[in-house]
Symmetry: D2
Subunit: 117 residues, 4 copies
Amino acid sequence: MPNPDIERLQQQLRAFAAERDWDQFHSPKNLSMALIAEAAELVEHFQWLTEAQSRALPDRKQAEVAQELADIFIYLLRIADKLDIDLLQAAQDKVRINAGKYPADSVRGSAKKYTEY
Amino acid sequence: MPNPDIERLQQQLRAFAAERDWDQFHSPKNLSMALIAEAAELVEHFQWLTEAQSRALPDRKQAEVAQELADIFIYLLRIADKLDIDLLQAAQDKVRINAGKYPADSVRGSAKKYTEY
Amino acid sequence: MPNPDIERLQQQLRAFAAERDWDQFHSPKNLSMALIAEAAELVEHFQWLTEAQSRALPDRKQAEVAQELADIFIYLLRIADKLDIDLLQAAQDKVRINAGKYPADSVRGSAKKYTEY
Amino acid sequence: MPNPDIERLQQQLRAFAAERDWDQFHSPKNLSMALIAEAAELVEHFQWLTEAQSRALPDRKQAEVAQELADIFIYLLRIADKLDIDLLQAAQDKVRINAGKYPADSVRGSAKKYTEY
């Protein structure tokens, strides 16, 4: 069952691209490049911070990070829309898969990749 | 106004990490690294495809890509949760900002960065 | 046998960081984040270009791309230096490994990942 | 003046691609995607480590990281070759530019971006 807020955002983004004649650029390939470029801007905010600093951002940095998260989300929604993937459903499915891959009792306190268990 | 589906997912992810004692690893800094690693797995699916091929994926690839989108979304929700950012609100704000930065009439059919206009 | 040009660059970068008291920030973890952020700036140059356009860049773009390659190379040299890895040797070893993984006769004209053969 | 070790590696990579008929895939655009995917594998090695742990890797991890650095270097050399950019020269130029952007006296002990000075 589609989520109305997400649907609405995707419709806005679709209209946004259509009005600007940008669909020609918005192949999933290109959008994946744009998404990782935004993800890197997020990484850049944190690269010289300690982990502790990254947990307690000053207000201005917090606002900038919120915008980076938004940019990533926007491209994520756009790719999902282009490929007709229900993002929320996919995430729910993945949470279930992860629960099977990482049983709480065997991985507690360890960050190893599941292939190492 | 928070979105119930997104809230529920974030609660599940919070419980998932807590049960595994993984919050010690889940600083925003580390989560940003995990997110970009997932974004790169998406990129990898498309790197040797033409744009046209990326628009029409075979079923198996389509399912794999759906999982990558889910992984990115999961880390995005997790960072937003850790930093107390309303992801949907941030995206709605950003869509509005972008409309100002890229007026349809002046950017039609061009993919230049807004700083170049 | 170390390469004198590469050694000299690494010494310059070492001095550069020391003079600025930046070694405290230059953990391999942080440097890997800085490297991927630079890699993303390269990706950004190409994200809305066709493949053909990316093969024939206008002069200004060509110069900008050269700077991005330099930035990536600088962080790569820096990480190698910090971890005491001989980058050139590692690359030569990897070329040999790849020749074994991708025998010319079986992969000709195909871009599948080696695990799929 | 070209560096003979780097030239030799680039020639090997050129022959490697030619024998496999892979030049059709090796547009700078695609190669930039492959490069960032390798950079992300490096990031993945460090994402759950502390900075201190990343400075002192166990032997096996050290060897794996050396291979990731090699992969990044290989794609970097390949892009430089395709675009006819002298990587070493570009890095030397960039080191000089950085010295101007970050004067030792004003940035000592601070990791702010140069635009913030």
